[in-house]
Symmetry: C3
Subunit: 439 residues, 3 copies
């Protein structure tokens, strides 16, 4: 049910947005994160991104908001003063959250602070040290191999000091306070698929949905842009009473690569969002897999923790940890493509469409089959209709609309695309054969 003809405009916009954000050195706190939220804010104007700042040291659930980290420069220079590892070339070169350091070390001592990928000798790994006050550099194996023994000057010109953690929220109000949560982690530095692609697709989804009138929107849409783990935990700590309004939720990640889609179910396993994403993917022509929840990955594990049990699944293409480019410098602008992000966007649009349009109805002529022909709902002579599959969809909707089955229930049992079922229901409602069931 996903139209895959690339919307080139949307694809270009998303890709340009990623290109703009790519060079920024983000982390779970700090100015790079703020700059990113500011760019999101500009991109969705006139919609309003509410940016929150939560002070270091604030207790959040079982955690504490950490000190704020900022970095200006970092390098390792050889005895001639030449920078052999340089933060200015790639922000991946410094271990994220490295504490300030200045000194001269022999290579043999420096090595304990250096991280490479021997199997991928040209790639720089991405490493973090959020909760351990140390410093380090990441570099390609070839760079390391080219470093002769001897002494090196090391500089990490960073700061780790009381400050705040930033996150942004965008809310599109609906006619009820039942919410759909779209959550994207926004803490990774120069990595495109993980997760600038998720952020860009989320922003594009928000923009496309904002074009509809809030009166026609049933759910309140909440878009969250927060650092992974600690950001979701901070949001949860500050919104404990709001969590049980989340009726459906998704974390978005790795939505720009060329892998088939993977949908990871919520911890509940058969929540509406699980059924809807599976339905949308099954009725698309897109390769995909649906996998069970496991308590690892992204922030679905925070939302789904036993105290909250919010039904939040995860939509991705490439699955974290299973493709070699993951968390390396090879997750760059070449690794993602506009068309792939457009596919991701369309899947999400379809998912929201189904969530919005899923209701239970009651057949108003439930005894026998109503005479559709008399009402002009059939061709008189044959049994032809000019919308393929719609006639059978009408019969399914009439037969199962006993006030208990939702349109999704019907679409699943009939194995018919939700949109056709929905169209049939609209038509039957228009012809006074169906009425919305009240709860």
């Amino acid at each position: 049910m996903v139209e895959v003809d690339a919307d080139n405009g949307a694809g270009r916009e998303m890709y340009e947005f990623v290109r703009q954000l790519y060079p920024i050195c983000r982390s779970i706190t700090g100015d790079g994160l703020r700059e990113t939220l500011a760019a999101i804010s500009r991109s969705i104007a006139p919609l309003r991104l509410e940016v929150h700042e939560v002070a270091s040291g604030t207790p959040v659930l079982d955690w504490t908001v950490p000190k704020e980290w900022n970095i200006r420069d970092a390098w390792v220079a050889d005895s001639t003063g030449k920078r052999v590892i340089d933060f200015q070339v790639s922000n991946l070169h410094v271990v994220n959250y490295s504490v300030p350091f200045r000194g001269r070390l022999k290579l043999i001592d420096l090595r304990a602070h250096l991280h490479t990928l021997p199997d991928r000798p040209d790639w720089i790994p991405y490493r973090t040290s959020y909760y351990d006050e140390t410093w380090g550099f990441c570099l390609s194996q070839r760079q390391l191999d080219a470093m002769p023994d001897g002494e090196y000057d090391v500089c990490v010109d960073s700061s780790l000091a009381p400050g705040s953690l930033s996150y942004g929220e965008l809310v599109l109000p609906g006619s009820t306070d039942e919410e759909i949560l779209i959550s994207s982690h926004v803490c990774h530095p120069s990595l495109c698929d993980d997760n600038l692609s998720g952020v860009a697709v989320s922003v594009a989804l928000a923009r496309s949905l904002s074009r509809e009138s809030p009166a026609r929107r049933r759910h309140t849409m909440r878009f969250l842009y927060a650092p992974g783990t600690i950001g979701a935990i901070t949001w949860l700590a500050r919104n404990r009473e709001r969590v049980n309004r989340i009726r459906h939720g998704l974390t978005l990640t790795c939505l720009g690569d060329s892998h088939p889609f993977t949908y990871k179910r919520t911890v509940l396993g058969r929540a509406d969002i699980d059924r809807v994403v599976a339905h949308v993917l099954r009725h698309s022509s897109l390769s995909h897999a649906v996998i069970d929840f496991f308590p690892y990955g992204y922030d679905e594990r925070q939302y789904g923790s036993p105290g909250f049990r919010a039904p939040v699944g995860s939509l991705m293409r490439g699955r974290h940890g299973t493709f070699p480019e993951y968390h390396t410098s090879a997750d760059n602008l070449d690794f993602i493509a506009p068309d792939r992000m457009v596919e991701s966007l369309k899947v999400l649009q379809s998912v929201v469409q189904v969530l919005e349009g899923n209701s239970a109805f009651r057949n108003l002529a439930p005894y026998g089959e109503p005479q559709l022909g008399r009402r002009g709902l059939y061709d008189a002579v044959g049994g032809k209709t000019n919308i393929p599959g719609l006639q059978l969809a009408m019969l399914w909707v009439l037969n199962l609309s006993d006030g208990k089955h939702t349109l999704l229930d019907i679409a699943e049992r009939a194995e018919i695309d939700f949109r056709v079922i929905r169209k049939a229901a609209d038509l039957l409602e228009e012809y006074a054969l169906l009425s919305r069931a009240t709860a």
Copy 2:
């Protein structure tokens, strides 16, 4: 569990009955339908077929009983007066329910009223126009190709006028008012498999069951012979209070062809009738498929509509719409065979046997296994018995007869033919090891 050695007597009788009914021009109302009901009535004498006549214009559920249609003659003649399409040759040649017409038309104008099957150039299609007051002819593509341009005289000597809709009911009373409904549509003109085969098998089933004493019959058997859709709807409208007595039901269609059996489940999906037909077919040597309900096909969709939800499945061999002969002149006397109808009859007899014999029992020696040998239920030395599988069946019945499991539950779990399980239960009851559970 179906004995497939052809009962040639029954097969010949059913085939002869079809041959007798074949030439009659039936429709959803009219004299052809009445003549068919009269033939059924004669065939089941001294059992009584109650024939109902319901006046045109009577509101029935969401529908209205239509005007009555009768036809005497219909033809298209060329300029020499020669009949090139002739109702007297085959009643399929006229679109069923064609309004009276007399006129001369150029071929080019006549064509809008002609229906052929280009892919099957020798076959005449079967078409109806029940709720659209028009007229038309059906003919083979070869006939049409042989018609030169020019003018043609057209005559449809029919009448469409207030009258009544006819249907017939045969009831075999049982010891309870819980009913088994066997419903066959009886409205199609010269088509053998669809549905003279269903009618003939239904009549043969009624006759065979009538040989047993009503006191020994638990369910009341209701055989309905009514026009498709409008006939079932008329019956439902006039028997609203009786519908909830239907414990099990089947529509019968296409039971004379050589295709494997298809059983289409009730809308409930796991009603007793669904389990019983699947069990009987699985323990037969007959090729078959069991498919899910869908709200199309025959009158199971009326009985199963949300206001009624009667558990009515559909038994067929060839599945409507999936074999080329369906609704064409090729569904003729050569397309069906006595042996195939005998197989169908035997499946139905087995189904009724299981429905009648399915009860829950209570093991009267439930602590440990009773000593069967002491009672002579085993051979003493070995563990041999002269009825194959009966010993294990006895152990299953003893083990699961806790007053909750029915014999069908036991047969399903044990994967043993119901008849063997039933035999074991009878034996154990005789030996005072089992008593019928009261509800």
Copy 3:
């Protein structure tokens, strides 16, 4: 989760025990059975085997304890006085429970009392005649073929007289009176796999479990050594009030051969014991099959009868009746192997471990994920831990420990070996992140 490195000590001990018991002529009553129970008693000292004697004629459920059978000698001699069939060579030669007989018969008359296996001409079959007062001999087909026509002297020097039925029970008390029952039939004469192997493994399991303090044992362990069918029935009759304390149970049989394991589920189909044995086997490297219950086989059918419904499954390697050596002289000391019995023992030890360790817990920091790193439960920098899989297991335990899911539920859903899940739970309990759920 089963360590298959053979524990040679245990294997040798079990095999020696079988070798010691092999020559004894056991039956469902009599001195051979008593001698076997005495050997078990010696083997488990200082643990105490309580031996019960139940008088012939005692009513037990639907049965009666039979007369006691003993045998001193039995033979068939030819006209020269040479013993051509001799009980002293193999106790299988006499039909078990043969009544005393002394006489001279022509071969043609003797044949009615002789049993062979024509398809396995070198093997002696095993036959019984418990409830039919007759006599007979079993011999190889070759022996029979070598017997010329003529007269033979026959002697069955047995006795069938009032006495008693013997069985033994060993109880390892636990901290609750919830019981695990391990039941082995002990009535077969010189057959190794069926069931000296089951007896030997049961004894080895009892000995290994007895090394742990009763205070640390949750379940009371009951080991039953009783003749098949009548023994279990006798125990049930004398312990009716105790049966509902059985939380989990297994019958053991054929645990020394080289076939893959077969676990036959309880009649309940999804009892804890069913899930646990399946889990242990699935997480072992051992070939195995899990099959549904059927009311035949060993004493699981008595324990699971409708009056009791105790959850007792059956663990075996070769499945009774499906391998040619079953119930023949080929089920000898060569047919079993120490290593196979060690594998069986280890499976059982793992099963008991899981049953003992399975509890539900409550996550004490259920809102979001607790910060494991702060507590030293993670490596700080990476996400490495030195116990493979333990980190993910911890996350699973935290996520699903809502007081309702047991560790087995978690292990099944996570598809992680119970022992790793258990280790994670222990660690989290130690770090005050988990507390045992009270019922």
